[in-house]
C-alpha cells in the first residue's frame, strides 16, 4: 500500500472532484487544501471564492480563516460577503465545499447542536455560511470522516439542506432548481446520490477498502454502487504539493 494518511487521501480525492475553469466556494481546513491542490495541479483555472469576500486569489499558504488576508493574495477582487453570497444566489458558484458533525441519507448536514436545541449536549458553531452554500451553490461536495455516529438515520438538527426528505422535496421547498449534494467523500469511499430517490449511494471505494466496511460504518442504509470503481490513490507529486500548501502542518501532518 502506498504511504499516505486518510487526511491526505481526503484532500486528494476532493481535489479530483473539482474541474478546471469552474468556481468553488470554500471553507476552512480540508476544503481550502483541496481547492489549492486542484489549482496547483489539474485545475489552474479554478476560481476560488471565500465567503468573507476574497475572489480569485492565488493563495500562497493555507489560510487559518476564510477571512484572513491570505484569501485575497493576488486575488481578482477583495469584495464582501454580500458580493460572494449574491453571486452564489445568482448562479455563479459551481461547487461548494461542506463538512459537518452529522449527515443523513439525503446529504442533509448538522453543524448546530448535538442533543436538544434548547438544552444542548454539545453546542456546535451553527450554520456559518454552510446553509447558504448548501442552498445556493450549483453543486455541493461534502467532506467528512465516516462512522455510525456521524452517518445517522436522523440528524439532531438540520442545519444545511441536502436533498431534504429526498425525491422532489428540495425543489418544492423553494431552493434553487437543480442544486444539491454532488459527492460525499469519507475516509473509506466517495458517494453520489441516486437520481430519483436522492439517496446516498457508493460511487467509488478508496484503495484497499471493502464495500462491507463502507456499508457497516453508517447508521442508515447506503445504496450499493452501480459498478465497482476505485478512487485513485494520491500520487507522490500530490503528497509533496500538500506539504507546500500547509508547510507548518496545520491540517496535513509533516512528513
Amino acid at each position: 500500500m502506498a504511504d499516505y494518511t486518510s487526511t491526505e487521501l481526503l484532500a486528494c480525492a476532493a481535489s479530483h472532484v473539482l474541474e478546471d475553469k469552474k468556481s468553488i466556494f470554500v471553507g476552512t481546513g480540508l476544503p481550502m487544501i483541496a481547492a489549492m491542490l486542484a489549482q496547483r495541479t489539474h485545475a489552474p483555472g479554478l476560481l476560488i471564492v471565500f465567503e468573507a469576500g476574497g475572489i480569485g486569489p492565488q493563495v500562497p499558504v493555507l489560510p487559518i480563516s476564510v477571512g484572513d488576508s491570505r484569501t485575497v493574495h493576488r486575488a481578482i477582487v477583495a469584495s464582501s460577503m454580500n458580493e460572494c453570497m449574491s453571486a452564489s444566489q445568482a448562479g455563479y458558484i459551481d461547487f461548494g465545499f461542506l463538512g459537518g458533525a452529522q449527515i443523513d441519507m439525503y446529504g442533509n448536514l448538522n453543524t448546530t447542536v448535538i442533543g436538544e436545541h434548547s438544552n444542548p449536549k454539545i453546542r456546535l458553531p451553527g450554520s456559518g455560511g454552510a446553509n447558504d452554500v448548501g442552498s445556493l451553490a450549483q453543486r455541493t461536495i461534502i467532506i467528512m470522516k465516516q462512522d455510525r455516529q456521524k452517518f445517522v438515520k436522523k440528524l439532531d438538527f438540520l442545519t444545511t439542506p441536502g436533498y431534504l426528505q429526498g425525491g422532489e422535496s428540495r425543489d418544492k421547498a423553494g431552493l434553487p432548481s437543480g442544486t444539491g449534494p454532488h459527492r460525499v467523500i469519507s475516509q473509506y469511499a466517495i458517494f453520489d446520490f441516486e437520481p430519483i430517490s436522492k439517496r446516498m449511494r457508493v460511487y467509488s471505494l478508496h484503495p484497499g477498502v471493502e464495500l462491507a466496511t463502507v456499508l457497516d460504518n453508517s447508521d442508515f442504509e447506503i445504496l450499493p454502487p452501480t459498478e465497482i470503481r476505485i478512487t485513485p490513490a494520491p500520487t507522490q507529486e500530490e503528497l509533496a504539493m500538500l506539504q507546500k500548501i500547509d508547510p507548518v502542518g496545520m491540517v496535513i501532518a509533516k512528513r
Partner: protein, 339 residues
C-alpha cells in the same frame, strides 16, 4: 400568505418608519470632530442590555480595544450578533458581558478548534441562544436595514431547522409562485468597526475584504469606529472612491494603533497565535478565564499598556513580518496536529 414562521426571537427589528425618524433625530449631517478615547466611547454609547454587533470577521479586523473596554467597564446583559462572532463573543461571554446571542457562527475558532468558554456557557444555560440564522442571512438582515426595508427576500435557509429556529418567514413569491424566505431587517443598538484609517469625522477607508461591514455600518444605530491611523480630510477627498463608510453613519472615532490585537489587521499585522492559544487554554475553566481577564483587562489601564504586556513593539514587529510572509507563522494549538 405566510407559509412558515421561524420560532426564533426577533431581535433588533424596527418598523422602517420608526427607524427613519430615529435616524433623522440622531444622525447629524454636519461634519464634526468625533474623536474621543475608548473609555468615553463605551461609556457614552454602550448600555447594559444593548444589542451589539462587531465588525470584521472571526479573528480578522475586530475592534479588540472595544471588547476589552466593555469588559473593563463591566457591561452586562448584552445581546450579541453571532455573525461569525468568534474571539470577540468568547471574551465577552468570559467577561460576563453577554448573556444572549443570535447565532450564525459562534463558539468555534475555525482551524483552531471549538471554543471551550462559549460552549460551556451555552451548554450550562448561562448564555441563551435566541435564534439561528446563516451567515448570508445575517448580512442580509443588515442589508435590509441599510436599505430602510423591513426585510430582504432570500433563497437560502429554506426547508431547514436553521430557518425554523430563525426569525425569518416564508411566503409564496408573488412573481415566481415559489416559496421565498423573508429575512427581517436588523438594526443593532451599537457596533464597533475597526479600520486601518479614517479622518476625525469618521470617513473610513478599509483595506482587504469588507465582509459585512458595508451593510453593518449603515444598519447600526450607533457606530463607533476604532482606527489604526487618523488621516486628514484632504486625503479622504483626494481619493473619495476609497471611502467605504461615510461620516454621517459614524458616532465616534477612536484612535488605537494595534487595536485589533490579537486578531489580524489585514496588510498590517498577523494573528497573535501565541496569545490566542493562551486564551483557548484559559477558556477551559472559569478560573482560567478569570486569570486571563485579570492579567490582560482588569489590571491594565489602557490598550497601550496591554500592548506592552503582550510584548510591545518587538512582538508587534514579528506579527507584521508574519503578515508580510517574511516570517513563518507558529501556533501552540498546532502541536495537536491541526484540529
Amino acid at each position: 400568505m405566510v407559509i412558515q414562521e421561524g420560532t426564533g426571537e426577533l431581535v433588533g427589528w424596527y418598523d422602517p418608519d420608526e427607524n427613519r425618524r430615529w435616524v433623522e433625530a440622531n444622525k447629524p449631517r454636519d461634519m464634526t470632530d468625533k474623536t474621543m478615547a475608548i473609555d468615553e466611547a463605551v461609556d457614552k454609547f454602550v448600555k447594559d442590555g444593548d444589542f451589539l454587533a462587531m465588525g470584521g470577521f472571526g479573528h480578522v479586523r475586530v475592534s479588540m480595544v472595544a471588547i476589552y473596554e466593555m469588559i473593563r467597564q463591566r457591561r452586562k446583559n448584552l445581546i450579541m450578533a453571532g455573525k461569525t462572532a468568534v474571539h470577540d463573543v468568547d471574551l465577552l461571554i468570559g467577561g460576563g458581558c453577554v448573556d444572549r446571542i443570535e447565532v450564525a457562527y459562534a463558539f468555534a475558532h475555525e482551524l483552531r478548534g471549538l471554543s471551550a468558554c462559549g460552549r460551556r456557557s451555552v451548554e450550562s444555560g448561562k448564555v441563551k441562544v435566541l435564534g439561528e440564522i446563516s451567515n448570508a442571512g445575517y448580512q442580509w438582515r443588515f442589508l435590509a436595514a441599510a436599505m430602510g426595508l423591513p426585510f430582504m427576500p432570500s433563497r437560502s435557509m429554506l426547508g431547514t431547522d436553521t430557518l425554523d429556529k430563525s426569525s425569518a418567514k416564508v411566503i409564496e413569491d408573488p412573481f415566481s409562485g415559489k416559496p421565498i424566505c423573508l429575512i427581517p431587517a436588523c438594526y443593532p443598538d451599537v457596533s464597533f468597526i475597526h479600520v486601518p484609517r479614517c479622518d476625525i469625522y469618521g470617513n473610513c477607508q478599509i483595506d482587504g475584504t469588507m465582509v459585512e461591514d458595508f451593510e453593518l455600518a449603515r444598519a447600526a444605530r450607533r457606530l463607533i469606529i476604532t482606527t489604526e491611523e487618523i488621516i486628514s480630510n484632504d486625503e479622504i477627498r483626494a481619493k473619495p472612491w476609497l471611502t467605504k463608510i461615510p461620516f454621517y453613519n459614524v458616532d465616534a472615532v477612536v484612535l488605537q494603533k494595534y487595536g485589533s490585537h490579537p486578531c489580524q489587521m489585514p496588510m498590517q499585522y498577523f494573528f497573535d497565535e501565541d496569545h490566542i492559544g493562551e486564551w483557548l487554554v484559559s477558556g477551559k475553566t472559569d478560573e482560567g478565564v478569570e486569570r486571563y481577564m485579570e492579567k490582560y483587562v482588569h489590571s491594565v489601564e489602557s490598550f497601550d499598556e496591554y500592548i506592552k504586556v503582550i510584548g510591545g513593539e518587538a512582538r508587534m514587529k514579528e506579527l507584521v513580518e508574519v503578515e508580510n510572509l517574511s516570517r513563518p507563522m507558529t501556533a501552540p494549538w498546532m502541536k495537536k496536529g491541526g484540529k
